[in-house]
Symmetry: C2
Subunit: 123 residues, 2 copies
């Protein structure tokens, strides 16, 4: 059986994802993640860990913390508020943005191929 860790300290996660504890606390200030407390110390569970992954993914794509919060809030809102229509709209908007990024990436990767070929041809 592979033992799955279920509890993490702030520095556990910081080390794992190569960021600082300060950043994680900052995400908490901005309400993107809300670990439980044991006394005064922060305790992160697997759900928190996944959230952090989502945050970092969003960051790599250039989204602001506010945008990432919006995306994260999409999950966890499922059904409750009957804002389904609004959620679907948000998803559409986000999807368009991601598709644009896809185009941009493909364009740049192609350009890199061309440039690399040129450089290699240069003997």
């Amino acid at each position: 059986m592979t033992e799955e860790k279920t509890e993490y300290s702030i520095s556990d996660l910081a080390k794992e994802f190569g960021i600082t504890s300060r950043s994680i606390r900052h995400y908490e200030d901005e309400k993107l993640i809300t670990p439980t407390r044991r006394g005064v110390h922060r305790i992160y569970n697997n759900r928190d860990r996944v959230r952090l992954q989502l945050i970092l993914r969003g960051k790599r794509l250039g989204f602001s913390l506010a945008e990432i919060k919006e995306i994260i809030d999409l999950y966890g809102m499922e059904g409750e508020e009957k804002q389904t229509k609004r959620l679907l709209e948000l998803i559409t908007v986000r999807r368009e943005s991601l598709n644009q990024q896809l185009k941009d990436i493909k364009y740049l990767l192609k350009e890199f191929d061309v440039l690399e070929a040129k450089l290699n041809a240069e003997k």
Copy 2:
């Protein structure tokens, strides 16, 4: 014959790309673009226009202006300095970053599909 415009004012480009003139001047301050001058006024040619497109593409992907400058400088350096090896390294690094972003995008798009399906199933 389709007439290709070959000269643009700063507000021409600003309008075309939906940004402010201030931004374009800022990119110039940061050495990402260097239009010629007619007297005191900036004149942009097609090459400058393409550069601006590259800048905006980079921005949509979350690159900093400094990183975009690095990427842009890849072009235009071809061959001259015999830094070919260094250039190929840079391309590799950038390519890895773009591939990571590709993964991130695909992950999120898939998540959106799942979420959308759930919302629609909710009757």
